[in-house]
Structures are given as C-alpha cells and as structure tokens.
Symmetry: C2
Subunit: 366 residues, 2 copies
C-alpha cells in the first residue's frame, strides 16, 4: 500500500543491494525509517522487539532470517539453531512456527551450498503467497461491506470498528482486516473506520490511523473503552479484526481487548468478523483459552507511553506513580461462539471445525 | 484517606484562612498541589477542566461555589446565575444537579445577608454526609469481600477489578468503589486490586494506583483491554466500579469502558457491583442508554497523553499522526441486567426499580 503516494511492502528483498529491508515500525507514525536486516541477531531483535509485528509479517520476516543465516553458515547445526532462536522470539503468533517449519523442511533436504538461494526463494514465495492470500481476503470481505452498503441511504457511510493493526503493516501487503476496507474504498463505497488505539502499544493509533490516512480512508481514532458505547448507539455496522492464532475450532487469539469488543458486538447484534490467512490457523488446537500461550510483555509498555512532544521530538511519558506494579498480557482469546464468521483466502466460513472443514478439508481430521 | 501518612480530604474549608481548598488532581500522581478556589470562575474551571472530578466530589465542589459567590454577591440574580453556570460545567454526573438544587432551595428562602453563612454550612453538611454515605458503602460492601475471602485458602488473596477512579479522590473521603476495599484492608483481608488505567484521561493510572499505593493496598495496573482476559483465567473474583448517574431502574452510567467490563463479568459469571451514594441516582430516569446525556470531550484527551518524562518534568506526547480525527465519548451506560447489585449507604440491592424501592421507598413512585 502507499506511504506518501509511493507503494511499499512491509518487508522486501532489495535486488540492488541484495539485502532484506523492513519498515521499522517502532517509530511510526512520527518517523518513517527503513532498516536493513544484515544478520540473524538483527532478525531476532526485529521480531522480538517489534520493529515488525503482526502474525503474517512475523512469519515472512522469520523466513528471510534463514536466507541471511544460510549465507553465513549453511550447516545443519546453524539451521537448527536458527529455528530455535526465532521460535523463541514471540510465543503467540502461529505463523512464525508455520514459516519456520516450512523453511526447515525444505532446507534440511538440500545440500549446504544450495541452502542460501533456496531460503531466499522460499522466503520470497512466502511473501508473495501472503500478499495473494490477503488480496483474496479483501475480495471475499468486500461482499460483507457491499451488503451493508445496500441497506444505507444515499450518502450514508458504512461504519466499521477495528482493533489493533491488522493492516498492511501487519502483513506483507493489503492487511487482513483492512483488505476488505481497501477493496471497498476502491469500489467507492464510503467506509468510515473507528480505530481502537489499542493499548498498551497503541498500534491502532500509531499504525492503523497512519495507514488509513495514507490511503485517504475516512476514520476516527477512539480509546479502547469507547467501542461498546458506539455499538449501543448504532454507530457501528460491522467489526473486523485480525488474529494471531486461530484454533481448528474457530477460537480467535488476537491483541488484548478483542474479546471485549466481541462481547459488545454480540450484545448489540452487530456482526463480528475475523480476517485471516489460513497460515494463522493452528489446526491441532480445539480450545483457545486453555491451549494458546499468552505472551506477558514488559511492564514498561503499560507504565510508559511513547509519542511526539510539542517540539516534534519523540519521548516516553510515565503515566502512573513510580514503581507501580503491572500485569501486561498481550493477547486474549475470543471464543468461536462470539465470532460471526472467519474471512479467509478461500472465502467466509462459520467459526467452527465444521465451517473450517468446508473451506480447508485437507487440514481437518476427524 | 492518607497521602504520605497525612490525612486529607479532596476538598475542605480552611478555618484559618476562611478559604475553600482542593487537591488539584490534574497533576497527580507526579505533583501534589493544593489550590485555593477564591471566586466563582475558579470553581467553574475546577469542575469543567477536571481539577476535581468524580460525581460526589463535583457535587460538593459546586456547593462550596455558592458560599464564595454569596459572599461576593448574595442577590437572587447572582444565585440563579451561579446555578446555571455550574450546571453547564459537566452534563453527565447527577450529583451536580442534586447539590445545586439543594443549595438553591435553601438560599432562596433566606435573606441576602443570611446566604453566605448558610451556603457554607450546607456545603459542609453535604461534605460530611458524603463522607458518611461512603463510609457506609464500605461497611456494606465489606460483606461481599468477606464472603469471597471465606472461599479462599489461607494466604490466598481476593482479586478485585475496578475501573477509573471511584476512590476517595472522586468523593470527599473514602471513595465509593474503594470504600469496601479500604474497609477490607482494615480488617486484614488480603485484597489485590487490578486497576484499569482508564483511557483517555488515565484516572486509574493517575489516581487509583496513587491512592492504593498511599494506603499500602496490593495492586497491579492494567490496560483497559486486559480485564476480560483476566476474568477468563479466573484472576478476578469481583468487580466494583462507581457511577456518575444511576437511573431509577438501575442502569449505571459510568466512565467509558465500564459496560465492556460488565459484559465480560457476565460472560465469566463474576459478580459485578456498582458502589454509589444515593445522590447519584436520577430517580426520574428509566432508560439510561436513551436518556442520559453522554459528554463528548476534547479530542486532545485521546491524541495526547500526559505523564512524566525521564528527566522528571511533566509533558504530553501525541500518539497518532497529526490531524487524526477523533471521537471521545466520556461515559457509557451499563444496563441494569448486567449489574449484580448496587452497594449504597443503606445496603446492597438488586439493580432494579424494585430493588431500589426496598432501600429508598421515599423516592420511588409507582
């Protein structure tokens, strides 16, 4: 998608320099920085410290890490170590493990001198597939938005709530939850997006509001507390979020607070959809609340908030007394019963084992 | 309650200087400032710009404004004007109107030269009554906490979630939601409070975390998004919040986001109680969502966050792109059906007309 009218992806292989480059998302929206990831440690830091984030993008980034490491040391030991180090960076998103498994399965079969180029080719393929999956999510999700648009008076907008950033910056391009929105805008449907700021890291305020502004999509930033009130007053037609891991039974693990919005959507009879490439599905799991590990992140994410001072420099402010104890779970699980449907690259299905089996029969066992 | 081991109220008449003083809560927890309110404009600013906040404290502050203004101009016109100006400061909390009505009813009957002293006496009485009501809320609410404590193993704590600041800083003393907590602590029950930071103004992080730390109450700060996840995992035994206005039918209007926590409590079979002095009940209303005006506040509350820089000075940081559009509703309504019970100065009742009628028969008409 576009930043300042130029097209970008969130990660790419620069043919000229032969380097992997990313947008360092820690500084958005206040500073736009492109960073080269030159060695494995840089990749580990980029994922662990969230220079890149979003389940699909984490998977794509991990894939490129193999290319960089295989160029340096294509040994089996190096391969295994890379797998383990990357897997440990973030515990919740399942795309990470999916990409690592795919990469190790391929490289293990090859001789050492074949590994660097094969790793690069597979990383690039993973990226291209991600872009295509997200494009298809948009095509399928567009139908939902179109249907709501037909119920509106001329000039009336379709109001969509989203949480966190499931935008193109969370994927390689298009985004998951935002892909239907971008497709609707391309068809000149007036969509208005309520953007949850998404504490603690404010990815809604930092990234989604930035993305939508760059694409000229009508939006308003709200605090995470406001969505229920807006739903009670008829201000939301549709909720679309992303997911970091989806169980084979349709439970959805996504950024902390998603569950609260799903409850409010149900209480107000508002459709609550989750957009995902099938790579975020953990087919082996059947109970998200019991089975998905929830990352507990640094308390500084809660006590200090990062932003731009009036003088234009960026800084952190502490919002609580010194030494305030903190709990900081990064994700929560929305049970399948609260999810109206899953928007995937193969179409929209019920959030259930049966629903998923209809679209992905090859993954579902009895 | 205590700040640095010294006892304070949130507002008081200083006999020595004959002035009304408040804690200017805009600077907590980073700076502790006591301010004298010398004239009507100062009172209007103090309420409108939230130097003081919390429904009971707003009422008490408005009452003292009459004393200051009657000293200056005890005319009928001045009285009416003061009523109107104060009523316009904050639209949601009903204690404001309650205190204004009480004050005008008294002063109208008196001669001009009687008015200043009578206003002072009534303002002080309103404060004393608020303290006593909140103390009684604590006595009644203590029973709920004690009952949960009996279900715990030795050494296990009672986990309570609260939203915003319904602490002593929101009242004259004791607080509403915190009064049962302070009473439990006095009886050596180990309570652990999960404190919602409560965006946009972060009164949980600024005030509740500060209050609890000063009282040595075990607590953890969390983002507003986290409560549902904690409930899903059995980490919350009880939710207690305050309210800015309660309908005669038991609907509760409180700081934005309260409704989301009530939904999560219901979904996880966790008791959700609301603590209130009867002065926050608007007996005439029967449908909170339709009838209670919700204050829409400045977008700067959402886009900029105030706190302490690493160098110790305080500043605001902007968390979103320049010119991001914002919606900022300050309160939401939790329907009575989601409220387990109301903790009042007369006891605990069902959140319904019938429940309230049992405790407050004199206010309920058929």
């Amino acid at each position: 998608m576009k930043i300042g009218n130029q097209h970008y992806r969130s990660i790419w292989f620069d043919e000229q320099s032969q380097h992997v480059k990313i947008i360092d998302q820690r500084w958005l929206p206040h500073q736009f920085k492109i960073v080269t990831l030159n060695n494995r440690d840089a990749f580990i830091a980029a994922i662990g410290d969230m220079w890149v984030r979003g389940a699909p993008l984490i998977g794509a980034t991990a894939a490129y890490a193999f290319y960089v490491q295989m160029k340096k040391d294509p040994s089996h030991q190096s391969l295994d170590q890379t797998y383990d180090l990357l897997l440990a960076t973030r515990p919740t998103a399942v795309n990470l493990r999916w990409a690592l498994d795919k990469m190790r399965a391929l490289l293990t079969r090859l001789s050492e001198n074949q590994r660097p180029q094969a790793a690069l080719a597979l990383a690039q393929e993973i990226c291209e597939q991600d872009v295509e999956r997200n494009r298809l999510i948009g095509v399928h999700g567009l139908g939902l938005i179109k249907k709501i648009a037909t119920t509106k008076s001329p000039g009336e907008r379709v109001n969509i709530l989203t949480h966190c950033n499931a935008g193109w910056l969370a994927t390689v391009d298009w985004g998951t939850a935002t892909s239907p929105i971008y497709h609707a805008a391309q068809e000149n449907i007036h969509v208005h997006i309520y953007v949850d700021e998404t504490r603690p890291r404010n990815q809604g305020a930092h990234l989604t509001a930035f993305e939508l502004a760059q694409q000229n999509i009508d939006h308003q930033l709200i605090v995470d507390n406001a969505g229920g009130h807006l739903m009670q007053h008829g201000d939301i037609d549709l909720v679309i979020t992303g997911t970091d891991r989806t169980t084979g039974s349709g439970d959805v693990c996504n950024k902390i607070g998603t569950y609260l919005k799903a409850l409010a959507a149900r209480d107000n009879d508002i459709p609550f959809y989750v957009a995902l490439p099938s790579t975020t599905i953990d087919w082996a799991l059947s109970n998200g609340i019991a089975q998905i590990p929830i990352e507990e992140r640094d308390s500084l994410e809660v006590t200090k908030i990062w932003g731009k001072l009036d003088n234009g420099t960026v800084a952190q402010v502490q919002i609580c007394p010194d030494n305030t104890p903190v709990a900081n779970p990064a994700f929560d699980v929305t049970p399948a019963r609260l999810v109206t449907g899953l928007i995937t690259e193969r179409g929209i299905c019920e959030a259930s084992k049966l629903g998923l089996a209809k679209l992905f029969p090859e993954f579902v066992t009895n």
